[in-house]
């Protein structure tokens, strides 16, 4: 299945969009260029050979301050073919909360991505460009920082109230 999807992507978008492939892992996956992810997802959803109509999960990942990279992992499922496929993107980003690393939103392809992306924005701090409603979802609107980042420091006070741990 990995080979088939690779050929579909290279045919449509060129060889250079595929940055890496996971062949050792239990589930096949591809790392693609972040700026093209929305188009690739749309193609994989609409192509009759793949038909990934169901987005199982979308996870934001912080790969740590040493690597300086953030990632988004998409788990695509196809209901008619009963297959599962992993797509990944990686973007370089600074640790500054005012400069969140940008990734194109796939909420136009699957509406379920809207909440998943809000969650990834909220907890990991990834800015999804083109997202219609990018607000915090699990944490309060006035929360500072993104807790799932590896360098996150727990807040000492909230709204002027000291927090005792």
């Amino acid at each position: 299945m990995l080979e088939k999807i690779k050929s579909i992507i290279t045919e449509k978008f060129g060889r250079e969009v595929i940055l890496a492939e996971d062949t050792e892992t239990l589930q096949p996956g591809l790392t693609v260029e972040a700026s093209r992810i929305a188009e690739i997802c749309r193609e994989l959803r609409d192509n009759p050979d793949t038909y990934f109509d169901f987005l199982s999960s979308l996870s934001g990942v912080d790969y740590g301050p040493e690597s300086g990279e953030f990632g988004v992992v998409y788990h695509l499922a196809s209901i008619p073919y009963r297959t599962l496929f992993v797509l990944k993107v990686r973007v370089r980003g600074t640790r500054d909360v005012n400069e969140l690393p940008p990734v194109p939103s796939v909420s136009e392809v699957w509406r379920t991505a809207e909440w998943h992306e809000r969650e990834a924005y909220d907890l990991v701090g990834i800015r999804f460009s083109g997202h219609p409603d990018l607000r915090r979802i699990l944490l309060p609107d006035d929360w500072e920082g993104h807790p799932l980042r590896k360098d996150y420091k727990t807040a000492e006070s909230y709204q002027g109230i000291k927090i005792d741990y």
């Binding site: 996971d22 892992t25 239990l26 589930q27 996956g29 109509d53 169901f54 987005l55 199982s56 999960s57 996870s59 990942v61 992992v73 788990h75 209901i79 009963r82 599962l84 992993v86 699957w110 509406r111 379920t112 809207e114 909440w115 907890l123 219609p132 409603d133 990018l134 607000r135 915090r136 979802i137 699990l138 944490l139 309060p140 807790p147 799932l148």
Partner: protein, 390 residues
Amino acid sequence: MTTRYETLKNNLKTEEMVINMGPQHPSTHGVLRLELITNGEVVNECIPHIGYLHRCFEKHAEALTYPQIIPYTDRMDYLASMNNNHIFAMGVERMLGIEDRIPKRVEYIRVLVSEMNRIASHLIAVGTYGIDIGAFTPFLWCFRDREHIMNLLEWASGARMLYNYIWVGGLFYDLPVGFEERCREFVDYFKPKLNELDILLTDNQIFINRTAGIGILPLDVAINYGCSGPMLRGSGLKWDLRRVDNYSVYPEIEFEIPYGKGEMGQVGDCWDRFKVRIDEIKESVRIMEQCLDRLQKELKRTPDFDPRALAPKKCFPKHMEYYMRGESPKGELGFYFIGQERSEIPFRCKARGPSFNNLSVISEITRGAMIADVVAILGSIDIVLGEVDR
């Protein structure tokens, strides 16, 4: 950039009114706040606000070893803890590469307790749905029957709701002596009660009038919004991960997948989702019986059987990445693990809760509904806020 929410709030018309339903509202099943923009009795827009029960599951998981995370999964969907335990444990076992060596007796016990928990979860869904609509008796009847399941599971695991019973590589303990016989007694007791419930609620004309043709969720919308479980099946698709992924011993067990047929109104309405749950209870009873048959015959308890024999002392995963999905009572529960070399602690552990995705469709299906129907629609989604907020 202005968000859609700001645009909605800034462009309120004179005749529109904003009503907050929740966070403390009995029909929101926990702490969920629905912001309704209404025009008279009609809901123009419904904006859910979640996060009141956020307990940082993913952050905690990054500081704990794999077996230590299992009690935290209990607290996600706290009405179906066994299913959460089961799916999490299977995911870790596949990363360890020991999933083929799990003894058959352990697997059958896991399926047995998971299905018991599925019945308990669906009984809550059905009972509280009745009370949302205004039928009080089914609620009490469902809780009475659920109590027997709670007692049985307490006997096996020591806890009534948060079990931590299914471990990575095995079980906490083998079933207590006499458990299988007591389960059979429960099945014999429970089957006629299901018929009573059908007469009382499923075929009740008042109930049908309140739910049929309300909150219709078309199949393409359901798939696009990532709905799963009874939500997706209620819209008419036979999609059950127990059959699709064939995990555990489900391939050896016979059961049907109920799906919505639009008997009372249209396919994908509230009644269909409700009916799917009722039918799933019946299927789960069938699965229970088949498990009990095996557990009492060829997989009988032996004195030297140790359900913890395979449980690893140190959980060093062989494979560094895995996405495990399984069918919990609410739908597709997924865990995405990223492991670390020579470490028992996951680098990232993302939980994909079915309720989270099922709830996201609510603004789509409540548009144009009456305020009283919002209660009916929300009840038919059957959310557990512990899992929405994690």
